[in-house]
């Protein structure tokens, strides 16, 4: 095996951007004086943005030769993410649990 010691630019950039996005979220949640709903929307969008960023910068979605596996993987990941987020919100905001 050969190892071209190329500098991992995309990883470093991705890492810095992730940090920035995280700190922006912290700032929005703790320091900004807007309503709860707006905060939720902003940090939710930042989270989705960061997930997308990491997919490209760390996970090399564009580089794989095996397209089908990639699609199945991402579909399943999306399914799991939706189940976790939407499912938890649904469960925790209905019935007695809501009060």
């Amino acid at each position: 095996m050969e190892h071209k010691s190329k500098y991992p630019v995309s990883h470093v950039v991705g890492f810095l951007f992730s940090l920035v996005l995280t700190f922006v979220a912290v700032f929005v949640a703790l320091k900004m004086n807007v309503s709860y709903t707006i905060v939720m929307w902003i940090i939710g969008s930042l989270a989705v943005l960061q997930a997308g960023l990491q997919l490209f910068m760390f996970m090399h979605v564009t580089e794989g030769e095996d397209g089908k596996t990639n699609v199945i993987n991402m579909a399943y990941a999306a399914f799991v993410a939706i189940v976790i987020v939407a499912g938890s919100i649904w469960v925790l905001t209905s019935g007695h649990a809501a009060h």
């Binding site: 399914f79 799991v80 499912g87 007695h96 649990a97």
Partner: protein, 658 residues
């Protein structure tokens, strides 16, 4: 650093002092033994630094045996305490600690390593690979798991055990109600072990997708490989949830955040929700590989191809989806309303369908087969009816309305033991008897195996069957005692007697390992069971490079058909090429040590010490990043030499298919 040394060593209780002394003596004995027999170098070279999937698998299995012993002791202590009404053997606090450590250890440190151990040993061989995709990562997985397990295990003598149940529900598990450090062990030890498991999941997905022998398409993979594959996917989907939940728990307990607390806007039910979002898939993580083991064992000893292979694959893939959407059945009584409860009732009943499909597949595989009643096969046979009892009572519990009655009783406890013991423990035993010759080059004694089998299955039923009825009569779980007037006494006593039979069964198993190591015939045939899959094509025990020449696969049950065609072991020496193998590394072991130390300081909330120790982790990561060791080559001569030793063994080149 804020450590109060007098808090660290739990004293007073004779049981605990006894264990402390026993632990110290064992450690001293091991150290003296290793030094006396000059085995330190051997230990380091052959085991602690190994990246060989077979050795890593064996270390996982060894840990599983040890942890089964520990968890089983906990189980026996509980059974002793409840054998008679109003016993004073364990007090309430001690009972709480014991059912907590029992549950955690049995699931995470017994079932998981046993299964991951078998996966490690068998899967690369079954797909004709030389190792897993990332051998050093695999070693790191093991060592992180081991580090977490040890950290968790010292809790009962160092600082006090967690005592909020294996589910560690908030608010009880929070700082307000459990101010001691016991529950920190839960949060931190499970985190470290969980990291290891997550990496195992990734490793096996890549291994199975990328490293199959030429010709082995997905639909020609052995069933155990399939179940390992789907299990790995569920691990990657579900473990991060637990990672996050544990991290939030750690923040709550150590740094005063309010994710799960009652005050300041926390939500205690969020913990239960996240826990079971991981916890239910976890049940399938332990059950699917077990199903794979039964599939291999049943096909081999019925001497037939697995019935309904495609439907089997479809049903495990179905489980990968359904297992993610049933979690609320663990807390119907939280009462998230009729819509939520109905939805999860239906999904839970649905998931019984693919499981039922499998049961029928196994039955039809056996139908008209020439069944051989080996010990491994006995476990598989006993699994079917016992697991069905667990499954049927599970469907009873799935009905949300009925669950309000069963919830929190011993009925539930009996149910999940009927799923986990036949489903996982029987499978592990079947797998061990079946693959033992592959791992060690000698068989476990079949006669002792049968004693083990009968004692264990009978003991198991006598222990847990009464618990269904106790539960229906209203005996609650996690209660350390009951009154004489309750009328529970006779059934509890029967159950306690059963647990002794169970324990004797396990003792026979341990004796069997010892006996076979000393006396069993060496040099067994490489294919002693006349089996069907590729792992039986190579030597027993397997040479470190697995296959001299990677086999070419033409259909399902590849090895069986090769034997039929008579092309088994005719190896043309000109086909042998040099083999590339990964080098050993001490880094995974080092990481386990620094993770363990960091974890230990965190448990005791010694933040500065923990931060200093954590530098060690970062150093390890940096060393790894600059590690350019690409492994080494095994020369053709060495391969020829090794192959000649076993291919001449009795009947070496014969074909054994009738």
């Amino acid at each position: 650093m804020g450590i109060k040394w007098n808090e660290i060593f739990v004293g007073g209780d004779p049981l605990l002092v006894g264990s402390q002394i026993a632990i110290v003596l064992t450690v001293v004995a091991i150290v003296v033994g290793l030094t006396y027999f000059k085995k330190w170098g051997w230990l380091w070279r052959e085991w602690l630094t190994t990246v060989d999937h077979k050795k890593i698998g064996i270390m996982y299995i060894l840990s599983g045996v040890l942890m089964f012993f520990r968890g089983g002791m906990d189980g026996l202590l509980m059974k002793a305490q409840t054998a008679r009404p109003e016993m004073n053997f364990l007090d309430a606090q001690h009972y709480n600690e014991i059912f907590t450590t029992h549950g955690v250890i049995m699931i995470l440190f017994m079932a998981m390593p046993f299964l991951i151990g078998l996966m490690n040993v068998v899967v690369p061989l079954q797909i004709g690979a030389r190792d897993v995709a990332f051998p050093q990562l695999n070693a790191l997985s093991f060592w992180l798991f081991f580090s977490g397990a040890m950290l968790f295990n010292i809790s009962f003598v160092v600082g006090g055990s967690p005592d909020a149940g294996w589910t560690s529900y908030f608010p009880l598990a929070g700082k307000e109600f459990s101010p001691g450090i016991g529950n920190n062990y839960y949060a931190i030890a499970l985190q470290i072990a969980g990291l290891g498991t997550l990496m195992t999941g990734i490793n096996f997905i890549v291994t199975i997708l990328k490293m199959r022998a030429p010709g082995m398409t997905l639909m020609k993979m052995p069933m155990f490989t399939w179940t390992t594959f789907i299990t790995s996917i569920i691990i990657v989907a579900a473990f991060p949830i637990f990672t996050v939940a544990l991290a939030l728990m750690t923040f709550d307990r150590l740094y005063g955040t309010h994710f799960f607390t009652l005050s300041s806007g926390g939500s205690d039910m969020l913990w239960a929700n996240l826990f079971w979002l991981w916890g239910h898939p976890e049940v399938y993580i332990v059950i699917l590989p077990a199903f794979g083991i039964f599939s291999e064992v049943i096909a081999t000893f019925s001497r037939k191809t697995l019935f309904g292979y495609t439907s089997m694959v479809v049903s495990i893939v179905g489980i990968a989806f359904l297992s993610m959407i049933v979690w609320v059945h663990h807390f119907y009584t939280m009462d998230a309303g009729p819509a939520v409860n109905s939805f999860f009732s239906i999904t839970t009943m649905l998931i019984a369908v693919p499981t039922g499909v499998k049961i029928f597949n196994w039955l039809f595989t056996m139908r008209k087969g020439r069944i051989q009643f080996t010990t491994a096969m006995l476990w598989a046979l006993a699994f079917v009816p016992n697991f069905v009892i667990g499954g049927v009572t599970g469907v009873m519990l799935a009905m949300a309305a009925a669950d309000f009655q069963y919830h929190n009783t011993l009925f539930l406890v009996a149910h999940f033991h009927y799923v986990l013991i036949p489903g996982v423990v029987f499978a592990v035993f079947a797998g061990l008897y079946y693959w033992w010759p592959k791992m060690f080059g000698f068989m476990l004694n079949e006669k002792l195996g049968k004693y083990h089998f009968w004692l264990f299955t009978i003991g198991f039923n006598v222990t847990f069957m009464p618990m269904f009825f106790l539960g229906l009569k209203g005996a609650v779980r996690r209660a350390y005692t009951y009154s004489a007037e309750s009328g529970f006494a006779p059934l509890f006593l029967v159950s306690a007697i059963g647990s002794i039979i169970l324990a004797i069964g396990f003792a026979v198993f341990c004796y069997n390992i010892y006996w076979s190591f000393r006396y069993a015939k060496r040099n067994v045939f490489h294919d002693p069971w006349d089996a069907r899959t590729l792992e039986w094509m190579t030597a027993s025990p397997v040479q470190f490079y697995n296959f001299a020449v990677v086999p070419e696969v033409k259909q399902l049950d590849a090895f069986w058909h090769m034997k039929k065609r008579g092309e088994t072991l005719t190896l043309k020496e000109s086909d042998i090429k040099k083999i590339h193998m990964p080098s050993n590394s001490g880094l995974p072991f080092y990481m386990a040590v620094v993770f363990g130390i960091t974890g230990f300081f965190l448990v005791f909330e010694a933040h500065i010490a923990a931060a200093v120790a954590a530098i060690g982790i970062v150093v390890g990561l940096i060393i790894r990043s600059f590690d350019y060791n690409d492994g080494y080559y095994v020369s053709v001569d060495e391969i020829k030499e090794t192959e000649r030793t076993w291919r001449n063994v009795e009947g070496g080149t014969e074909n054994h298919v009738g």
